[in-house]
């Protein structure tokens, strides 16, 4: 196990929601809930940072219309009907209650790369991520395209940054570095969507 930096060089803007910790990226790729053979892990806490955009600039929001083509599916009337009080159900394109289009908007970041800092098996991690061609959200729309992956030995362990700042969500009671950091409620161990894994944490500013 060694400290290393993993870098994904980007071709297109990135849509990053949340922290995108390296352990979560590896778990999603390997479809497993345990990557302790790749990264150092102590009592559930992975030594793997959030993903930090390099030279990142906030871009315009990317808006997408999710259309389910309700006019092509008249049988949806039966599905929508129980949710209406007056029975005045109809199919349409403009309103969500009529099975119409839904507009979703995402903040984009233009960056030359995304970096992770971690402690683990650098070569094995690089081998796992090498086939990943897109990262972040809206990958199928071309966002977060990776040109190439690279890894090199580093000095940060994946928990504490150069300024003594947290590099990933970490419970306040496990934080020993001090400093006036802003505590928020966040998930600190996988699965990160699980409410029960959330607690009072110090977090990097990447997703505050």
């Amino acid at each position: 196990m060694q400290a290393f930096v993993l870098r994904a060089h980007l071709r297109t803007p990135l849509i990053q929601m949340g922290y995108t910790t390296l352990d979560a990226l590896l778990m999603a790729t390997l479809e497993t809930g345990d990557v302790s053979h790749l990264l150092r892990c102590e009592t559930g806490l992975y030594y793997a940072s959030a993903g930090f955009p390099v030279d990142g600039i906030a871009g315009p929001n990317a808006a997408f219309i999710a259309s389910m083509r309700p006019e092509h599916t008249p049988e949806w009337l039966d599905v929508i009907a129980p949710n209406t009080m007056k029975g005045d159900v109809q199919i349409g394109l403009a309103r969500q209650r009529e099975g119409g289009n839904v507009l979703n908007s995402y903040p984009t970041t233009t960056a030359s790369a995304v970096e992770w800092y971690a402690t683990g098996d650098m070569a094995a991690v690089l081998e796992v991520v090498a086939p990943i061609m897109f990262i972040g959200k809206r990958r199928a729309s071309g966002y977060g395209e990776v040109v190439r992956w690279e890894a090199e030995p580093g000095v940060l362990d994946g928990i504490v940054g150069h300024l003594g700042e947290p590099l990933r969500p970490i419970p306040v009671e496990r934080w020993t570095e001090g400093g006036d950091w802003v505590p928020v409620e966040a998930a600190w161990r996988p699965p990160y969507w699980e409410v029960r894994n959330r607690t009072k944490c110090y977090v990097p500013e990447v997703a505050l």
């Binding site: 928020v184 409620e185 409410v195 959330r198 607690t199 009072k200």
Partner: protein, 136 residues
């Protein structure tokens, strides 16, 4: 303590009938927000379309809960938020619409510099020490 535990401990368990307490705050949160609750007006309504400020000492809300819940209904939203943040203690700021609230929607605010207004499906974060107009 996560948001569901905080909410249920300081507010939710006063509303959820005792026979529905499972001991798991996340499951109990889902149960609470999924059922109609008796109001002091005699009607019943799901816990929605209201604001709520939850602190360990007091709860203020525009929801017309029965008096037995012990919620404060004499406060304006802005004043309640300001008082909760001024105390420096953890609090929860809810701004609920008509959709059903999920346990994942609930976040505790631990610091004025990252005050979180929780709504269904989203939580907006504000620095209450800098942005003077964020509660309006």
């Amino acid at each position: 303590m996560n948001g569901a535990e905080f909410f249920m401990t300081h507010a939710g368990y006063r509303l959820l009938p005792k026979d529905l307490h499972s001991g798991d705050a996340v499951n109990d949160t889902e149960a609470l927000f999924g059922r109609s609750l008796p109001l002091h007006t005699g009607k019943s309504l799901r816990l929605s379309s209201c604001w709520m400020v939850v602190t360990p000492e007091w709860v203020a809300t525009s929801f017309k809960a029965e008096a037995s819940a012990g919620f404060r209904q004499d406060m304006e939203r802005k004043a309640a938020i300001a008082e909760a943040l001024r105390s420096g203690k953890p609090c929860m700021l809810l701004q609920l619409g008509k959709r059903t609230t999920r346990a994942a929607d609930l976040f505790v605010t631990y610091d004025r510099r990252a005050a979180r207004i929780c709504s269904q499906g989203s939580a907006a974060t504000f620095d209450a020490t800098k942005d003077k107009a964020w509660t309006s």
